[in-house]
């Protein structure tokens, strides 16, 4: 083809066929792989729809508008058996989010405490933290869930012998019952006061930072913010004539009636996921803190910075850079592990989806919804954590 000794075509051009060009070869390989993959997916999709047709199984997402007909134990949004399948899925979705968010927050707090505890100079705290990490990290999450669920069920009494807790709360083997706030007219002002307090706090701390940068004077940020966040809504509450009343749980024929109840299913799943994931987070935190060179804190001490401030302003910001990426994957794990809810009957996305799958027989559709939702949840968590990581990353000047 282009091999012609008499017409040399420059030094940098290969003398052989374009097939010998590694760059072009690479592109060809990739194109062929992509083509094969697309063809395979197309074949699977066609085959599936063909087989569904042959087996007389209805397909499509139209069933989501049908009447669900079943009830769900715990729901964050209004839901009854007259609602649609789609709404039942949304109920499950919110329940998944609820347990994931609550679990992530608690796991982070426990994880940081235990992680720092392992580095403590106090022998007992360090050893207890180590035992905690080694125990929970080495048990499958499902067993941790069963441990909490069976523990909760076995230890707690029947509704008639409920254990009374402070603030009109009760606990029994049907869950934790607590007074439900009822918002009368005028309570919207309290919400407004809270919003104003939050905005005020943000503005104030910005102003304080700016002032410190200019003059070196530190203003009492913590106390001002606390005063704003608690004081302002409280003042409004009394000023508007105490518009919030409480629906207190009382003993009914079978269960406590009135108030709000969090079932043992949620409690045990939440506790299990929190404690399980916290053991991993603790190790990540410990690694992060250990990863900061000792010279950094020595330098801070040499400059006369107090130990507390050294930890807060020198060690932790640098440790966070090491902590955040693996922390992200722990958050993702916790969210995905929440699908183990099915074992104890907590109505999460997989559980309600499974019920719908069974009532309608739309296996492929439901599984595809599961995949899309978990994928979206995980990718969103990743995005948020990546943004946080970028914010925390070393700013090089």
């Amino acid at each position: 083809m282009s091999i012609d000794a008499t017409t040399p075509s420059g030094k940098d051009k290969p003398a052989g066929s374009i097939l010998n060009d590694p760059k072009i070869r690479g592109i060809i390989y990739q194109a062929v792989t992509l083509l094969l993959l697309v063809a395979f997916i197309y074949w699977v999709a066609m085959n599936t729809s063909e087989n569904l047709k042959r087996a007389n199984i209805a397909s499509g997402y139209g069933f989501l508008n049908g009447r669900a007909g079943f009830d769900v134990g715990q729901s964050l949004i209004a839901y009854s058996s007259d609602s649609t399948y789609g709404r039942a899925l949304v109920v499950g979705f919110f329940n998944t989010i609820l347990v994931a968010v609550a679990g992530i927050i608690t796991a982070t707090i426990i994880g940081f405490l235990v992680g720092i505890g392992r580095l403590s100079k106090n022998w007992l705290i360090a050893k207890l933290s180590m035992v905690y990490v080694e125990v929970f990290r080495n048990i499958p999450p499902l067993l941790v869930i069963f441990f909490w669920y069976s523990g909760v069920l076995a230890v707690l009494p029947q509704p008639k012998e409920s254990v009374a807790l402070p603030l009109n709360m009760y606990i029994n083997n049907r869950g934790l019952a607590f007074p439900k706030p009822i918002f009368d007219s005028g309570s919207q002002f309290i919400l407004l006061a809270l919003v104003i307090a939050v905005i005020g706090s943000i503005l104030f701390s910005r102003y304080a930072n700016k002032k410190q940068a200019e003059t070196g004077q530190r203003m009492p940020v913590l106390w001002t913010v606390l005063g704003l966040l608690i004081g302002l809504p409280l003042l409004t509450y009394f000023a508007t004539g105490m518009p919030i009343s409480f629906d207190v749980p009382v003993a009914g024929k079978f269960n406590l009636t009135g108030g709000s109840v969090v079932g043992p299913e949620f409690l045990s799943l939440f506790l299990a996921l929190s404690f399980y994931t916290a053991s991993f987070i603790a190790e990540i935190v410990r690694a992060g803190i250990r990863g900061v060179s000792h010279g950094q804190s020595e330098a801070a001490h040499a400059l006369g910075v107090r130990p507390g401030l050294t930890t807060r302003l020198v060690v932790v910001p640098q440790a966070m850079r090491i902590i955040i990426p693996p922390l992200t994957s722990q958050y993702l794990n916790l969210t995905k592990n929440s699908s183990l809810a099915i074992a104890i009957g907590y109505s999460d996305l997989v559980s309600t989806g499974g019920t719908i799958l069974n009532q309608t027989g739309q296996a492929i559709e439901i599984v595809s919804i599961w995949i899309v939702v978990y994928l979206t949840l995980s990718l969103s968590t990743s995005l948020i954590m990546n943004w946080f990581n970028a914010k925390m990353a070393l700013v090089e000047r």
Binding site: A55, I57, L153, R174, G345, G354, T355, N358
Partner: protein, 341 residues
């Protein structure tokens, strides 16, 4: 469960390759592999449960055995697939099991949209409630405010919602996927009420820690016709499964039992001769794709319908369920078989 659904999906996707050969006749497939793959309950005393050495027995299991006997003349040529309420349908749809004999209610949705075929009803059931005697409840209408344990993915779950709504009662559903989990939760006092098909309640009560502390309420809130299900699109297989049931009922009608079936072959009654395939030049079995003495093989293997009922769930069993609607049509029930002719 996830594994089953995955199998179903892969099955649905890949089935196409050998689809013509495989789905042409289920009977051919079953004969070729040498055994019947039967979908049963994971463990419901009296209907389907394995003993300590893994041998399955029960009312539904006897149907698996009867079908195997009709095909192979050998009731042991069955492999059992325990299925939960939730994964039973994907298991049948994907072809993982040949027939689903798993106290499954015949509904229009399952008959049409899910792609199954139901015909004979081997057990006429209805949904009931079980409570602790200590609650002093005498009727389901007094259950407002109760926590109710129920298995997810069942018609029971839907009937429950409808019944409480229609009677304007409040309740708090506690749902589990597996029967064992529902049992454990009810036994631990997580809920006040257990609801499922009444036959199931009788069976489950035996497994509780103190069976005598529990009672079954009188209300029956639904029709639950239970029967074997097969995939749509194979009429021959559908006919075989249906006629196995009719043969069991027919045998009881004729008074043919496991003990006297050989004698009955010599009966002068032409109906019985035809039924047992001893009539000259008969095609009573070959038309089904079986041998002419298929009914004899069934009765030898498991007995007639009455024997199957009594042995597993009736007076001869710990469950002691009355025949009720499941008595023969001639004895006040509605079990009825079309003529063998």
């Amino acid at each position: 469960m996830a594994k089953r659904i995955l199998t179903a999906l892969i099955g649905a996707a890949v089935m196409g390759i050998g689809a013509q050969a495989a789905s042409a006749t289920t009977l051919g497939d079953v004969k070729a592999k040498g055994f019947l793959q039967c979908g049963v309950n994971t463990g419901l005393t009296g209907f389907a449960s394995p003993d300590a050495s893994g041998n399955w027995s029960g009312f539904d299991v006897d149907y698996c055995k009867a079908i195997a006997a009709a095909i192979f003349g050998d009731p042991t040529k069955v492999k059992y697939t325990p299925t939960s309420a939730k994964d039973r349908f994907p298991a049948l749809q994907s072809g993982e099991v040949d027939v689903l004999a798993r106290n499954t209610t015949w509904t229009i949705n399952r008959d049409t949209a899910l792609g199954f075929n139901f015909r004979p009803v081997n057990y006429y059931d209805g949904q009931g409630f079980m409570v602790r005697k200590s609650l002093n409840v005498k009727s389901a209408l007094e259950l407002s405010g109760a926590a109710v344990c129920v298995q997810t993915g069942t018609t029971t779950e839907l009937n429950l919602a409808d019944y409480f709504k229609a009677n304007n009662l409040q309740y708090n559903p506690v749902v589990f996927e597996k029967l064992e989990e529902v049992n454990a939760a009810y036994d631990a006092g997580r809920c006040d009420v257990y609801t499922t098909d009444q036959s199931g309640l009788y069976s489950l009560r035996l497994t509780l820690a103190a069976p005598d502390d529990h009672m079954i309420l009188p209300e029956i809130i639904s029709k639950e016709p239970l029967g074997p299900a097969v995939r749509q699109g194979d009429d021959q297989w559908f006919d075989i499964v249906s006629w196995v049931h009719y043969a069991l009922v027919g045998a009881e009608d004729f008074g043919i039992t496991q003990a006297n079936v050989e004698e009955m072959k010599k009966s002068a009654n032409p109906d019985i001769q035809r039924f047992l395939g001893v009539e000259a030049d008969t095609k009573i079995g070959t038309d089904l794709g079986l041998e002419n003495d298929w009914a004899v093989k069934i009765i030898k293997a498991v007995g007639n319908y009455g024997e199957v009922f009594d042995r597993n769930i009736g007076t001869g069993s710990p469950l002691k369920i009355e025949r009720g609607l499941n008595a023969l049509w001639s004895k006040g029930g509605i079990q009825y078989a079309p003529p063998v002719r």
